[in-house]
Symmetry: C2
Subunit: 142 residues, 2 copies
Amino acid sequence: MNTIEALSMEELRRQFNRTGLRFTPQREAVWRIFEGNPDGLTISQVTVILAPQKIGQATVYRTIRALQDMGYLKWVHEQTGEHRFVVSRSGHSHMLVCRVCSKAVECSDCDLSVLEKLIARQTGFTVEGHHLEFFGLCPDCS
Amino acid sequence: MNTIEALSMEELRRQFNRTGLRFTPQREAVWRIFEGNPDGLTISQVTVILAPQKIGQATVYRTIRALQDMGYLKWVHEQTGEHRFVVSRSGHSHMLVCRVCSKAVECSDCDLSVLEKLIARQTGFTVEGHHLEFFGLCPDCS
DNA sequence: TTATTAAATGATAACATTTTTCATATAGAG
DNA sequence: CTCTATATGAAAAATGTTATCATTTAATAA
Ligand SMILES: [Zn+2]
Ligand SMILES: [Zn+2]
Ligand SMILES: [Zn+2]
Ligand SMILES: [Zn+2]
């Protein structure tokens, strides 16, 4: 399933620095929250969790955007349409979300090349990428 | 490509009534806006367009939600992550969106069954459905 | 280690989006 | 036409997001 190792804090720091960004205690705290919640969290949830530590919402927004840009977070949809952010250990991948318990699982097996070619031929589009989410029931809820 | 005929107003009215909802001039106006904009619109765009006709934003929100629930509107993502709603003429389909001109095309060819089975086997999930969007360049922008 | 400096922080305000409220209007049924 | 539950719009309230800016601090290099 092509899973990548868990990311060490030092590696994450290097990734931030490589992009010209600083790795601050606040950013570390945001990352820890996501690591501790593999099924993902909405921005408002993270904000609430980190409020007691006096981490401002602006910092939460900024950090989540940075982690997204670096590919460490992906989003999936709540039933409400709200975006929930989930740690991703893989470059390109898809998320499976349980509609009952909201469990999220990443799946990096992806061969849409045949479908992309078919669609390109039919529509004349140059297909550059895609976003794919699966909904269903996790093993426990099945 | 399994496209369904354009929906007549009377059919749409029946669909509303079937669901126990009423078909009002406001709801018709919202639908016309979407029909006239095949590449889709965000909620705020619809709100602005219908403001001169004194159609309130609450009505726009309520109507878009209803049309979504009935399957006549699907959403795709702006670069901003904002949702843009697009008329769907097909039960299950995917959208292709041009990253340059935002042109949206529906594509109802979809065989993800092999991939879904593979993922089901690997993860133990019961896969019930998916949301798939393609990004790229339309013929004009290629 | 320390000095330097550009980037990050958080409080607040500004702005934007979405939902609720409720008095009034009206679609649809009979 | 009458009746009634539903829908409407205006406004307010609630939520969500971004911008501002004085202050702090991470990273770099001496
Ligand atoms: Zn979305
Ligand atoms: Zn579950
Ligand atoms: Zn993929
Ligand atoms: Zn285009």
